[in-house]
Point group: C2
Chain length 189, copies 2
């Protein structure tokens, strides 16, 4: 890999860790510079602005999230199990030491109103997740209304886990998902 690409990767990784833990606006370029171990000029040769770093961080987070969901889904075979695997993935994530809520929701709350590109990145990630759930729902043979409901549970679990500090909301979401899926798949009365 290109040395510049590798450095960029290290910078995004460090920025992600800092921004996610403390919020974007609480972390200055100087702190990021010293964390990465390069000069400010070097940092600005890798990215044109702080906003560009934030967007790169969100891109990376989108990728990591997608990979995590799909890896968990790969362990089971039916669409129904893959849908429920989402909440298992969430529980595992919520239980990590550095869990601090959904990075996109956090970034949207912090910058969505003032930095349109951040709001756009959050919107894209949520749409992408909704599309994933919709595809699995379709494969499971469920009616169209199910997918948005399952997505809502996942979103709610993320904010609830973040604010409460407990991972149990993932279990509540999973139990609700089972009920909703079974109801949607049940033969019409």
């Amino acid at each position: 890999m290109d040395a510049t690409t590798e450095l960029r990767e290290r910078a995004v990784s460090a920025a992600d860790r800092l921004y996610y833990a403390r919020g974007v606006q609480s972390v200055g370029m100087d702190e990021l510079r010293s964390e990465v171990g390069v000069s400010l000029k070097k940092l600005y040769s890798l990215f044109p602005s702080k906003e560009a770093i934030v967007l790169a961080v969100l891109d990376r987070r989108h990728q990591v999230w997608t990979d995590g969901i799909e890896d968990t889904a790969a362990a089971v075979s039916t669409p129904r199990e893959k849908l429920l695997a989402i909440y298992d993935f969430l529980f595992a994530w919520f239980s990590t030491d550095d869990f601090n809520g959904c990075g996109f929701i956090n970034a949207f709350g912090e910058l969505g109103a003032t930095v349109p590109s951040v709001a756009e990145a959050a919107r894209e990630q949520k749409l992408s997740f909704q599309a994933y759930v919709a595809e699995l729902s379709r494969q499971a043979g469920a009616p169209d209304f199910l997918a948005p409901q399952l997505a809502l549970l996942a979103e709610g679990a993320q904010t609830t886990a973040a604010i409460s500090g407990s991972p149990e909301s993932a279990h509540h979401a999973r139990a609700a998902a089972v009920t909703l899926i079974d109801a949607a798949l049940a033969p019409q009365h």
Copy 2:
């Protein structure tokens, strides 16, 4: 009412509007000062710090939210209808012009990691809402697992409506709530 109390009220109201629309950190004391129409010294005689204003704003929001939920619930009679009224309230709120997500989730995402009192205020509001849902669920004769599920739907609807910019998530949440409530109240096979 005391003139000072009224001025404080006006200040909190203006701060709420500005902070909610653009985020706390994007609004400086000077802008708030000119919006309220008082001097900085006066503002600092009403509140000891910006943090105190933020907490006052969150307190007020908690009150407005609670009142709104209870007003909507007052229009119907059964606990089941009162539970569903939550989602009607949400839909009406999501449809307002200045809707910008849940102020507590936004504040938590922006300041939760660096200002403990803000994280605490968010936690309190969510716990208060969960207790409200739990009480109604109990009155409806539902098992304990129902309430957290219904709360998750409401939380998910708020973030989804904020990021997507559409109020429809309230309808998805309501439909899911109907399914969950009916399943929870159905006689055990």
